[in-house]
């Protein structure tokens, strides 16, 4: 009998009856072989590792981080409620002290879903980590600072977007360089909104980066940053498409490397994101992550076809990563000294493409530059679906001026032709919509 050093909760929800399409990477049997491996290894019989049932996220849970257009019901399927609900259960287990840490091994994933949701992007409809984080902030107000370390091979542009203006949620993403992979974003200069400068950190890695490179970033950048930030809760968005066998990416991470990453990071909660090498990677990576979380020896976990020499990085790749890490650490150390915009309102406009659903969206965003609180903001969003909406966010701990500004935006929209105006009032946990 093996005893775990830490109590670990597993929420396993493979959604065996949900797929985007039968041959799509995000399909029914994605976690089948993972389940086989975890069962055969007897992982759930290890004293201290327990499996728990997923839950269902409510409409309100989804409205906290998202403006779903036209409404929540039309943007999700029940599978998304369960996947986000699984994350909520994982957080509940940890924060109630039932377990020391938890792994939401759920699907569908969520890290490409942004604050405004017109459809699905990168296989994601709603951001399951964000639904969980906002649920945590509502129900456990003592959790003030949260860090999300996203190790999926793709840049988590959705999570970056949801927390762009939030100084209390630190988002760190390690991903394959956006010049070589979807979604094409995630560069160091994407550093956070004017009220949250330095709270968004991107580490784009060259294709074929393997264990040494990724673990170097963890030890020499992510851990020092976390030490400075002092988060109350650490989340790993544990996408597994950085594996050497993944069919849609070009990195060379291993199951053993992933287990070591989680041993170093020691997250409170892991959430599965992408990862489409369903036979050759996921069974081993997931087993490794669970063991690392529980503090059980994972050193014998290895892929059947692993050849460390074949996937080892070129020394130039390691040099590049060392330099990048040093530069980023320097940037981080100067985060307090960046100049904020002088004007009261800061504006940005951008175009967002929903690859999964083929929708394009135009956003005009206005944020109140504020030294008292994270700042209220409004997003004017029009999509190729025909919906043109105004979305207003009044943040947690909003100061009175930001609250007044947010309410004014909501009460008196600047134009009449919006389909609807939405309001997120976080402190009052109120999510309103006015159809015009």
């Amino acid at each position: 009998m093996i005893t775990a050093r830490r109590k670990t909760g597993l929420i396993f929800f493979p959604a065996y009856d949900w797929e985007i399409s039968p041959s799509h990477p995000e399909r029914q049997e994605r976690l089948l072989y993972t389940q086989d491996q975890v069962m055969e290894e007897g992982v759930l019989d290890i004293d201290g590792i327990s499996e728990f049932k997923a839950g269902l996220a409510t409409e309100k849970d989804i409205c906290r981080p998202h403006f779903c257009v036209p409404d929540v019901e039309s943007r999700i399927t029940p599978s998304h409620s369960v996947s986000a609900g699984g994350c909520i259960e994982a957080a509940r287990l940890v924060l109630d002290g039932t377990v020391d840490n938890a792994f939401a091994l759920v699907r569908p994933p969520g890290h490409h879903a942004m604050r405004v949701v017109h459809g699905a992007r990168g296989f994601c409809n709603i951001n399951i980590e964000a639904v969980m984080i906002e649920w945590v902030r509502k129900h456990y107000p003592h959790i003030r600072k949260i860090a999300v370390v996203d190790t999926d091979c793709h840049h988590g542009d959705g999570t970056q977007d949801v927390y762009w203006h939030d100084p209390n949620v630190l988002y760190i993403s390690l991903h394959q360089d956006g010049r070589t992979l979807y979604p094409g974003s995630g560069f160091p200069e994407e550093f956070g909104g004017p009220n949250a400068l330095g709270k968004n950190l991107n580490i784009p890695l060259p294709p074929r980066t393997s264990d040494e490179g990724i673990l170097h970033v963890m030890e020499h950048f992510v851990m020092p940053v976390l030490k400075d930030f002092e988060p109350d809760l650490i989340i790993n968005s544990a996408g597994q498409d950085n594996h050497y066998s993944d069919p849609i990416t070009n990195m060379s991470f291993t199951a053993g490397g992933y287990a070591r990453l989680n041993e170093i990071l020691a997250p409170d909660i892991c959430v599965l994101e992408g990862g489409y090498s369903i036979e050759a990677a996921l069974p081993y990576v997931n087993t490794g992550i669970i063991l690392a979380l529980a503090g059980v020896d994972y050193s014998y976990i290895r892929e059947p076809d692993l050849d460390p020499e074949r996937i080892r990085e070129d020394p130039r790749v390691i040099d590049y990563i060392r330099n990048l890490t040093d530069d980023l650490l320097d940037l981080w150390s100067r985060r307090e000294h960046f100049e904020r915009p002088q004007e009261e309102f800061f504006r940005r406009s951008r175009n967002i493409f929903y690859d999964t659903d083929g929708i394009s969206e135009n956003q005009h965003e206005v944020v109140r530059v504020c030294t008292e609180c994270p700042g209220a903001y409004r997003i004017d969003s029009s999509a190729s679906t025909g919906y043109h909406v105004l979305a207003i966010h009044i943040p947690w701990g909003a100061c009175s001026r930001c609250r007044e500004q947010g309410l004014a935006w909501f009460e008196k929209p600047d134009r009449k032709n919006y389909y609807a105006v939405y309001l997120q009032d976080m402190d009052n946990d109120e999510y309103s919509v006015k159809i015009l």
């Binding site: 929800f13 072989y33 069962m39 728990f52 049932k53 069919p247 892929e303 059947p304």
Partner: protein
């Protein structure tokens, strides 16, 4: 006529059933020689032995030999490959790890080395070990390594068990434990089966001999020879099956309570079928793949010790001895019942003497204290029953359909058997707020459960149309299939195999077959489907034989 015998720790019960009638019952003391005890119990039934159509035994033999570690030394030859270090599951020096690895789809990626296996077998042989268990990881997806190891060592050992034949379930550590226990108890079980057969023959009984298993089903004596590990924990299974046999309304979800002196066993019957442990039962502190009923045992019974702590009364979880009214050392719930005039067998005066000091210390009226003691006992049982039901309902589900349409288990009635059941019935009804039935033959429910249980067996079929391979570990089937095989073909094939192999599986060929699980998944390469991965679990349905339930 069917004879059912339940050999308990202290008493052995026997019952004779003819159609829907219990024609004889007997109770004897369990002696050191179990074969003698069985003989005594059958003789005590005083029936015409020539009319017996079968004899079913529920014994503690394998359970006790495992718990008391009274088994023959057995060696293990295990191949694993990468994964959790299998040596963590080794608990004697006779466990040997050899090379060889198979992946989750049953593909070999490290072969077995015959010279290494032969060397290990030599070491075991030299130590005088007669039994060997053979286990490889993922052998239920590809048994070839276990079979290869067996063929290398074949003639050298008397008792051999292969992991894949014992269960089709995935779980390598449990497969190691199950195979070890099976091998270790094999000699003692073989001897026992042989002696019982001989004793029955001497009595003129030549009809089939069956054994009750942990899952509340039975199998033939020859199957029990090969798979003795399945007879563990048949005691609780016997009581659940007895309760089921005596239940008048089995279609209502029933909470079964077997209330003994020391403990109460709690189980649930849904639609006339008891629920199973999803992964397998635990024994001797280890987890196995043995299919068994889900039963919770709590330290609350008629003889539970009653104590005072401050202003609290504590009942159980231990037992000091019999109730004071039956000559025991300390007050018990039975004494409280005796004081209230609800239990009349014992000496009421002794009960009063035992409970009075408690009433004195609490400054309460004697009969009030007695009512309190009983309600605490009933509450303890209820709390555990609620936790048990809660655990059943917390079982994770893996599909959206099940998530949105949860099947909540909610008992609608109680069924209580065991010594104090009749006296506690009104108190249970009040506390649980539902009807409680205490059946007429509750005293021999266990023996009755053994007599009336159907034969059961489960088989697992996995078909991979891309690898063109079908496996049924329990039957040792590993064969090529056409790429066109569909789930319905696999189901038909499984049903045929269950019937054709009834003898080998130790079951009745007439049993009703039911599907426990079936799943089919696409296998995709690139962006096109290249095959199907199908999984099927079939069983002969557990329950009470039709001759009894149909009438």
């Amino acid at each position: 006529m069917i004879i059912g015998i339940d050999i308990g720790g202290t008493h052995t019960d026997a019952v004779c059933v003819d159609g829907r009638n219990i024609t004889a019952t007997a109770k004897t003391v369990t002696g050191d020689d179990l074969v003698h005890t069985i003989r005594d119990a059958i003789e005590a039934l005083a029936i015409d032995f020539s009319k017996i159509s079968r004899t079913v035994l529920s014994t503690t033999l394998s359970t006790n030999s495992i718990i008391e570690k009274k088994y023959a030394p057995a060696g293990m030859i295990v191949s694993a490959g990468p994964g959790i270090d299998p040596r963590r599951y080794f608990f004697t020096d006779d466990f040997h790890l050899v090379e060889g690895a198979i992946d989750h789809r049953g593909r070999e990626y490290i072969p077995i080395r015959a010279d290494e296996v032969a060397r290990v077998a030599g070491i075991l042989k030299k130590k005088g070990v007669d039994g060997v268990g053979i286990v490889s990881k993922f052998s239920v997806r590809n048994p070839s390594h276990e079979i290869a190891i067996h063929s290398i060592i074949n003639s050298e050992f008397e008792h051999v068990s292969l992991g894949h034949t014992l269960s089709g379930g995935l779980n390598f550590p449990r497969r190691i434990h199950t195979t070890f226990f099976n091998t270790a108890v094999m000699p003692v079980q073989k001897r026992f089966v042989h002696s019982v057969r001989k004793a029955l023959a001497e009595l003129g009984i030549r009809s089939p001999l069956l054994f009750l298993k942990a899952d509340g089903g039975t199998f033939s004596d020859s199957a029990a020879d090969r798979h003795p590990v399945e007879t563990i924990l048949s005691g609780p299974a016997a009581s659940m099956m007895g309760g089921l046999a005596l239940c008048r309304d089995p279609q209502t979800t029933t909470l079964m309570l077997d209330i003994g002196g020391t403990t109460t066993d709690i189980g649930v019957l849904i639609g006339g079928v008891p629920i199973l442990e999803p992964k397998g039962v635990d024994i001797g502190g280890l987890k196995t793949l043995v299919r068994g009923l889900k039963v919770m045992s709590v330290g609350a019974g008629g003889d539970s010790c009653v104590r005072v702590s401050g202003s609290e009364i504590l009942v159980g979880p231990d037992r000091d001895g019999p109730p004071a009214c039956m000559g025991g050392p300390s007050p018990t719930p039975m004494d409280a019942l005796a004081v209230l005039g609800q239990f009349t067998k014992g000496d009421r005066q002794k009960a009063v003497q035992a409970v009075t000091p408690i009433a004195g210390r609490l400054g309460q009226d004697l009969s009030d204290v007695c009512r309190r003691i009983i309600s605490i006992l009933v509450d303890n049982i209820k709390k555990s029953a609620c936790a048990f039901i809660d655990e059943v309902n917390r079982h994770p589900v893996y599909t959206i359909y099940e998530m949105l349409h949860p099947e909540i288990v909610e008992p609608g009635q109680l069924m209580a058997i065991g010594g104090p059941a009749a006296q506690l019935k009104p108190h249970l009804e009040e506390s649980f707020g539902m009807r409680c039935t205490v059946p007429e033959h509750a005293m021999v429910a266990n023996a009755l459960g053994a007599a009336l249980a159907r034969t059961t067996r489960q088989i697992t079929l996995t078909a991979d149309t891309q690898l063109r391979r079908m496996i049924c570990p329990e039957l040792g089937i590993d064969e090529q299939i056409p790429a066109s095989m569909a789930l319905s073909d696999l189901r038909r094939r499984g049903e045929r195999e269950l019937r054709d192999n009834a003898d080998r599986l130790g079951i009745s060929a007439q049993g009703e077959i039911s599907v426990l699980e079936e799943q089919v998944f696409n296998i995709v390469r690139g962006f096109s489907t290249t095959g199907r991965n199908m999984r099927l679990k079939l069983q002969t349905k557990p329950g009470v034989i039709e001759e009894w339930s149909a009438l």
